[in-house]
């Protein structure tokens, strides 16, 4: 029989045997970083102690190049910023040029723009659902379902404007050409199809208990802290603050439309996912209202546009609700046919700057999920 001496002390590692922190590099080529983003995690065991994001691997000089080209030529660079939703970016850029140049937009063109922007928003959020499902561990299934609907919306864009991703359809002063004849019918068909696809995805993700358990209470953030960090869009709305620029500082024809601003409860990963899902239903409502209210015929491009747009002077800061948050354009004109300075306030850039606060204190596997829930687009982050 073993006799334990009464003076035995518990065996603990002495203080000088503490493990050292380890550094993990993720990116710039990594399937979970959604592009060329790099973050260096310092981990203590499985726990993230520090996170340092590195961006700029796609810095391709949007603002510099915009200064070198005519107001209408720059459009191609602007819709390649948020490359999941090109039309939203085009809309912000065109609104800035119109504000500086004092151009009027025909009413039908406004409706067409809103339809295109909201379809782009649906498209971008489908991409989020697919990619986020992959991050969490549903693997390729959500991606495949989401891409079926994306392809249909791309086909619609192609019928309208001639290209799938970057049609450069909008112009300062309207849109470049009128809609095709059967657009309304086709658009409603695409919406029905997208609604079905969303219900599929909803059942696959929200109906999956593992998914919900994985995302609940992960990386929560309060509204006050969200505002201080400069978050916007679905990231801020997930905290419970219904701040949507389409409502808060209405532009275009959004004040005529009836839609709600979905909010979350505590700003965790699940709320961010669910806010985006609910937002897609609202975008569909907006498109349907636009189809009903739209003038059936009329001009789509301002007929009084000058051959070369010259703006003497002016300065503006146009705010729009992009797909990821506040997509704003600061524009400064000092004569001539080129802008003097264009600055993009990109939502992904500001949302990503808050990544460190959300990630520190979680596990490594959760850090990937939190990064996925930010829904960053690197073209927009790095400009």
């Amino acid at each position: 029989m073993t006799h334990w001496p009464e003076t035995t002390t518990p065996v603990l590692p002495p203080d000088d045997l503490n493990t050292v922190d380890m550094t993990i590099n993720i990116g710039p080529q990594h399937p979970a970083t959604h592009g060329v983003f790099r973050m260096v995690l310092t981990v203590d065991g499985e726990l993230v102690v520090d996170c340092e994001p590195y961006i700029g691997y796609l810095h391709r000089g949007l603002e510099k190049l915009s200064e070198t080209a005519d107001y209408r030529q720059s459009m191609g660079w602007w819709d390649r910023t948020d490359y999941l939703a090109g039309m939203c970016c085009e809309m912000a850029y065109c609104m800035a040029v119109e504000k500086l140049g004092g151009l009027e937009v025909p009413e039908r063109a406004e409706y067409i723009r809103v339809i295109m922007a909201e379809l782009s928003r649906i498209n971008s959020h489908f991409m989020f659902l697919g990619a986020f499902g992959t991050d969490v561990g549903v693997l390729g299934t959500t991606f495949t379902y989401a891409w079926r609907e994306r392809e249909r919306i791309y086909d619609l864009f192609e019928e309208v404007a001639g290209d799938r991703m970057f049609p450069t359809y909008l112009r300062p002063g309207g849109v470049s050409m009128d809609l095709p004849e059967n657009f309304e019918q086709r658009c409603r068909w695409v919406l029905d199809s997208a609604r079905q696809g969303m219900e599929d995805l909803d059942g696959m993700m929200t109906g999956n208990e593992i998914f919900v358990e994985r995302c609940r209470d992960l990386g929560p953030i309060t509204p006050e802290r969200g505002i201080a960090l400069g978050l916007s869009g679905p990231m801020l709305r997930a905290t419970g603050l219904p701040w949507d620029i389409r409502k808060a500082e209405p532009y275009s024809i959004y004040d005529r439309l009836d839609f709600e601003v979905p909010v979350g409860r505590q700003g965790d990963v699940f709320d961010r996912y669910f806010v985006r899902l609910a937002e897609m239903y609202q975008s569909m409502r907006i498109v349907e209202q636009c189809l009903d209210q739209m003038p059936k015929s009329g001009l789509v491009l301002n007929p009084n546009l000058p051959k070369t747009l010259r703006i003497e002077s002016g300065e503006c800061y146009i705010r729009t609700e992009g797909t990821k948050g506040e997509y704003s354009v600061y524009a400064l004109a000092k004569g001539g046919n080129k802008p003097y300075r264009m600055k993009l306030r990109s939502p992904s850039f500001c949302n990503l700057s808050g990544l460190r606060e959300m990630v520190v204190g979680t596990y490594v596997a959760d850090a990937i999920v939190i990064l996925g829930s930010l829904d960053i687009v690197l073209g927009e982050v790095d400009k």
């Binding site: 710039p28 080529q29 796609l58 079926r148 994306r150 392809e151 799938r164």
Partner: protein
């Protein structure tokens, strides 16, 4: 009867007239195919080992999933169900160590270039590179900005250039088919 006169009616002879149908149904002109093998005995194929290896290579190209910029979205679209790349044996793979093809899908900046070179060096031989889109080919719309590399072929060799900004999925598909042809033509090269 024949002596009596030529006026006697000739017996009816059935001559089928198909018009131009035979011409219509003529098989298409096939160019003389270079057969990769010849049959020596029934069930035995005799061919060069390089051909067999090249056929194996071209039939299971594994591209590295490496999204750089906007073209990555169209690349993903090509992998998805609508433009199914799996039917060509092309399966996306997230690691360079097991990949055969690198699709440079997007703008290559000077900050990213060392990472791309490292990824290329990590891939085992034989390896091929598809430069997808205008940016990877020569800088595209961003070529005037000095932080952007004017074409990925400045740092790594490129086999196939796919034009477009971004290229449609069909274009990338065509790029893969061109790469498969190229592999068959260059079969003598031991990679």
């Amino acid at each position: 009867m024949t002596e009596n006169g030529a006026s006697a009616p000739q017996p009816y002879k059935y001559v089928p007239d198909f018009g131009a149908e035979l011409e219509r149904l003529r098989p298409v002109d096939l160019p003389e195919a270079r057969s990769a093998y010849k049959i020596v005995l029934p069930g035995v194929i005799q061919t060069g080992a390089d051909t067999v290896i090249a056929m194996g290579r071209k039939s299971s190209l594994w591209p590295m999933t490496f999204g750089l910029a906007c073209c990555a979205i169209e690349m993903i679209g090509t992998f998805m169900a609508n433009h199914d790349l799996d039917r060509f044996g092309i399966v996306p793979w997230p690691s360079p160590r097991q990949s055969d093809v690198m699709i440079v899908s997007g703008t290559v900046t000077k900050k990213m270039a060392p990472a791309i070179k490292l990824l290329y060096e990590q891939m085992p031989n034989p390896k091929w590179v598809i430069s997808m889109g205008a940016c990877a080919t020569n800088g595209g719309p961003y070529t005037e900005y000095d932080r952007v590399l004017q074409g990925v072929d400045k740092i790594i060799p490129v086999d196939v250039y796919v034009p477009g900004c971004p290229p449609r999925p069909e274009s990338l598909l065509d790029g893969f088919l061109a790469l498969q042809r190229k592999i068959m033509e260059e079969k003598k090269m031991v990679g």
